[in-house]
């Protein structure tokens, strides 16, 4: 019976069947990978695009980036300072969660997308000071609606940039490729 099966596999129909199975397995794997790379659900469908279009600077809402390790998420008081004055806030279904949160005093539970593992000590300030722009890592936020992370933020990506920016400066290269610069 096994022999018959193998023989059948050698027939054109069998070859097609093998092809389909392989394709299916590949698609499943690809789908699995795809699911792990999705942007998470956010409590508010926050359109970065719109806000950037109004000319709001990144640092207005994420001021920590220039001062310290964490860029920070704006407090809802900050959101409200503007939205309070915008008529649409009262009517828009999109903005209802913000209104509810502010009125009820509940926190908005954002899910940051640009994240590094807990064993990486990342400092925004140093990167801004080194002349990096937000979009270098976070992508063109002005074209994004809900936040997504355009980069695979892995170590190779970090190192690549570190090595490039060190250039010929040997001392800088040593500092920027030192394990202890990010891991402790």
């Amino acid at each position: 019976m096994i022999k018959r099966f193998f023989d059948w596999l050698k027939q054109p129909l069998g070859l097609i069947a093998v092809g389909i199975v392989f394709l299916a397995l590949f698609s499943i794997a690809a789908y699995g990978l795809y699911t792990t790379q999705q942007s998470p659900e956010q409590p508010i469908q926050f359109p970065h695009k719109t806000h950037v279009a109004f000319g709001i600077q990144c640092l207005y809402c994420h001021p920590g980036a220039s001062k310290g390790p964490s860029a920070g998420l704006p407090s809802q008081a900050k959101c409200w300072a503007c939205h309070n004055q915008i008529q649409k806030t009262q009517t828009s279904a999109l903005l209802a969660p913000l209104k509810d949160a502010v009125l009820s005093g509940q926190s908005i539970e954002w899910v940051p997308v640009a994240i590094v593992p807990d064993f990486v000590q990342f400092n925004h300030r140093a990167h801004i000071a080194a002349g990096k722009n937000c979009e270098d890592c976070h992508g063109d936020v002005s074209q994004m609606n809900i936040a997504e992370n355009p980069q695979v933020m892995n170590m190779g990506w970090c190192l690549n940039c570190h090595v490039e920016s060190a250039g010929e400066d040997q001392e800088k290269l040593v500092k920027l490729t030192d394990c202890g610069t990010c891991h402790y």
Binding site: N123, E171, V174, K175, G180, H183, Y184
Partner: protein, 247 residues
């Protein structure tokens, strides 16, 4: 023995086995063994407590421990000077070459022995090869019942089971101070920051700073007290911690 003073910044080359950068001076004559450094270190560095059974079986996670022995017999018995033992941040560290994964490596930038937790696969060879026996291993995922985890220092990675760890000379504080200094466009000043153990020590028995700077307090102290000893120096480990034993 070359004194710490002999090392000048210009001489420090970017290879291991050369002079140190950060160093510590410990005065055993005034160390009272009060364990403040041990507690401070544990709080700063998110060190797990392991409970009675494991701690009694040599699994405590202290990054710094205070050793004491006895000399003589009653009534002429004496306690030897308390000896705080922590990672000596060797210039030529026996732990480094034996790690197959490069998880314990020499920081060329800070001249420290790094332990990269997330690279560690737990062969424990480094701990075997450490003549000072100052490395501690995460034998289990030691739990911190809620809400104890609120105390964790966000600047230090919380280690999980199967990972080696050890004293880092509070590298998170080094980085913070350097970052701060850089933001303000200046050099890090001596005494601007210190390690958690040195900061807590009520007797000021621990002093931390730049050994490659002759004007720093560590260098000055080493010069003033003179006859400092480095542990197991004969092994060629080039330790960066200097001990002053007695009066």
């Amino acid at each position: 023995m070359a004194t710490l003073n002999d090392l000048k910044i210009s001489e420090v080359k970017l290879s291991e086995g050369e002079g140190g950068k950060w160093g510590m001076v410990i005065d055993q004559d005034i160390c009272t063994g009060c364990q403040a450094c041990v507690a401070a270190c544990a709080m700063e560095n998110n060190i797990s407590f392991v409970g009675e059974e494991d701690s009694g079986y040599g699994r405590s996670m202290h990054w710094i421990r205070i050793e004491r022995f006895w000399e003589g017999e009653y009534p002429e018995v004496k306690m030897t000077p308390n000896q705080p033992m922590l990672c000596q941040q060797c210039g030529s560290a026996p732990c480094e070459p034996v790690c197959p994964a490069f998880a314990t490596v020499h920081s060329q930038a800070e001249k420290l022995n790094l332990q990269v937790y997330n690279r560690c696969v737990g062969t424990r060879y480094c701990a075997n090869n450490c003549p000072y026996q100052v490395r501690s291993f995460n034998w289990r995922d030691y739990k911190r019942p809620e809400p104890l985890a609120n105390q964790l220092n966000p600047d230090v990675t919380v280690r999980r089971r199967g990972v080696m760890e050890k004293c880092t000379f509070c590298i998170q504080r080094i980085h913070k101070a350097q970052d701060q200094a850089k933001a303000e466009g200046r050099e890090v000043m001596d005494g601007e920051f210190t390690t958690a153990c040195a900061q807590a020590c009520p007797a000021n028995a621990i002093t931390f700073g730049r050994t490659d700077d002759p004007r720093s307090l560590v260098s000055q102290l080493a010069k003033r007290r003179g006859h400092g000893a480095k542990h197991l120096e004969e092994l060629g480990t080039l330790p960066n911690v200097t001990y002053f034993k007695g009066g």
